[in-house]
Symmetry: C2
Subunit: 420 residues, 2 copies
């Protein structure tokens, strides 16, 4: 049996809005699964090697539940354009480049490394429609130590000539891709209809059936922008609301992720709650593209499951510390917009969303619960002035840029990054 | 005569919304003053040493026109509290510590270094009420190469026991401080009534007269938060609007900076425009403290002078790249709040505000105009994927964290930072 013992100031998010702190504590994992966090090392671990990080913070690593891998090369620019112009100017032409497998290899290798260095160990990710590039993405994530779900995108309408499949191609490529996915251990497939306007009804029906037959999770976009919602209404006049276009094909259940949900009203939110759909809040993207500000505080009050996504490259930030801070700030923008009648996300709540809430989609219990596979990082803030409480230090690390704050990362029990 | 020649991709902001790009260009300064930006090195500089930064970006350095130096130790946390609680819990108690000069020296040295390393070479800064700590701050800024204005804070009411002066003390300490300021070359004094609720009428009158007699600039806060505005109304029932409490004492002219102006309506904005007052927009702070979202896009349309401030530590970010991105994002939040009826800040506009607009308060012409003293930085983004246009690269550097993007910095003609 292999034992991992990390010593430092351990902070975890055991519940929404709650931080659990053990100063000079020991985070222990056996065979990659958390045994517990202890203020004093239990006798049964005496003699086992301890990795002592002094006063550094030991935290859960982060989960990014919505991002577009092929948009990595366009991350951080083009933000002056509205959504549809941005898609046509930057996103689609760039995504089309992933027919080139050498390009895909180079970009995805760099992306996977950047994710791990920033402490993102779990993802739910859109690839492009290219089957082979998607497999390369999965290989590179697995090699770097990123775990989670990746989806070959399905889009058989409303793309551009260089980026669209026929319905038949989309189906057969999806089946071939799923077959090839069996070789991966840590990165699994997720069905990924790009969004309703990108998929014919025939394709949606196929994907819904496939998902049910093979028990596959699903990710897509929902109610991001008012024009998009209007478009969906025109495409599906039989549906009262956007979410129904997924539900009617069986793409709406407790293994479904819906990104954005900026404009989801009470009825649509209730449908998510009833089905157990997880909302992926992408605050930075929604602000950059002027889509709107999702009522995330209200969603939490209503008991919806909410996690965070960078939405690279509508979001301009890949680092989940930035993404979490963006969610907190956006909740305040929403509070202002609501005339101070709604609350905002506290730091502890934001941190929960970026860690435990995202990990829940993969079956993890909140915080460093015993039995969870070890997903953790070590954060160094010694160059910043002190002394502060651990919670203040965590908050400051969310907001402040530092050169190399992350010293080491564990993903699914394995150490996958370390500053030498 | 000393000649500085920097070679790289030179980008400057010659006007609001405009970027001027000279690829593989030469930025030349003689005796610390800009001679010009040239696509080909003019003959008259032949033989002079060229610092060749390859493909790196050569940019104007940044100006932070509102920040509180003694809040450096509390930068980046406490953001869950509303303004007045935050002041009493964190700000005032921490500011009181600057009676300790050894503490002041240590903190201010670190602050000055961080400013320069992040490319902020011009500031208008609040110190605390402590005369000696203020002089230490000025020394440390001058030593590090930061230029601009620093103000000993005046506050003779509504502080806490550990952080308040009598009216007499405030006056005499201000006079002593001004005397001692004559020793500084690059850092100059600015009158700094904290804000109307902190200063008795007697003190305001004294400061107004002093400013006029000695031709001193003035900085303060205006219309940050609705409760504060109400409070000011109660304190000055003779004034219709907040700004009049400054104007009636002669603290309202074209050398006046007013931070925030979140709630300034058309009349108050007109008063700023008429007097030539500069608005310092502190987007991150306003969002963190839920103060509101300043109508910065409208202010620019109306022809007001607007520059940017980090407002450390209401703002959680000291880095002006972050602050500029925050202003752009906030303008989009405001657009959303306004039902998409107002515009947003483009990247080029944001960059102008962070550079040329701030520099204008110090008499500089926009961009790298000939005659300006050299304030510049070299920005490295080679580790990010390319190729991009120079403008796209600049935008990406605003949004993305990098480990050490700034390679070198010049301030008032002198090289003040360089990565070895």
């Amino acid at each position: 049996m292999s034992i991992t013992i990390l010593k430092g100031t351990v902070i975890s998010a055991p519940a929404l809005g709650k931080l659990e702190v053990v100063e000079h504590g020991f985070l222990v994992a056996e065979d990659g699964r958390v045994s517990g966090v202890f203020p004093v090392l239990p006798d049964r671990f005496a003699g086992a090697p301890v990795e002592d990080f002094g006063d550094a913070l030991i935290l859960q690593s982060l989960a990014d539940l919505h991002l577009h891998a092929p948009q990595y090369p366009i991350l951080g620019f083009g933000m002056d354009l509205p959504l549809l112009d941005w898609l046509n100017t930057y996103t689609f032409p760039n995504e089309a480049r992933f027919a080139d497998l050498e390009y895909a290899r180079e970009i995805y290798r760099q992306l996977a490394r950047e994710l791990i260095e920033n402490g993102t160990t779990r993802v739910c990710m859109f690839s492009s429609l290219h089957r082979q590039a998607t497999l390369i993405l999965m290989e590179e994530l697995e090699r770097a130590g990123v775990t989670g779900y990746v989806g070959k995108v399905n889009m058989d309408r409303n793309g551009i000539p260089a980026l669209q499949e026929t319905t038949g191609e989309s189906m057969s490529e999806t089946l071939l891709w799923l077959e090839a996915c069996q070789d991966f251990r840590y990165v699994k497939p997720i069905l990924t209809p790009r969004f309703t306007p990108s998929c014919t009804n025939e394709l949606m029906e196929f994907l819904g059936k496939l998902g049910m037959e093979r028990n596959l999770p699903v990710q897509s976009h929902l109610s991001e922008n008012e024009k998009e919602i209007q478009w969906v209404k025109e495409l599906h006049p039989d549906c009262t609301q956007y979410w129904e276009t997924y539900a009617k094909y069986g793409l709406w259940n407790d293994r479904t992720l819906m990104a954005h949900c900026v404009w989801s009203d009470r009825r649509e939110r209730q449908a998510m709650k009833d089905a157990g759909v997880t909302v992926v809040h992408c605050a930075d993207s929604n602000q950059n593209l002027c889509s709107g500000t999702a009522p995330v505080r209200v969603m939490l009050d209503e008991g919806l499951q909410v996690a965070l996504g960078s939405d690279m490259a509508g979001g301009a930030q890949l680092n989940l510390f930035d993404v979490t801070a963006a969610a907190i700030r956006a909740s305040k923008a929403r509070r202002i917009q609501d005339g101070w009648e709604t609350g905002f996300l506290t730091v502890a709540e934001g941190w929960y969303l970026g860690t435990s809430a995202g990990a829940a989609f993969f079956g993890a219990e909140p915080g460093f619960s015993p039995g969870n596979s070890l997903h953790a990082l070590v954060l160094d803030d010694h160059s910043l002035p002190g002394p502060l409480t651990p919670a203040e230090r965590l908050e400051r690390c969310l907001y402040r840029r530092q050169k190399q704050p992350i010293l080491a990362v564990w993903s699914e029990g394995r150490k996958v990054f370390e500053v030498k």
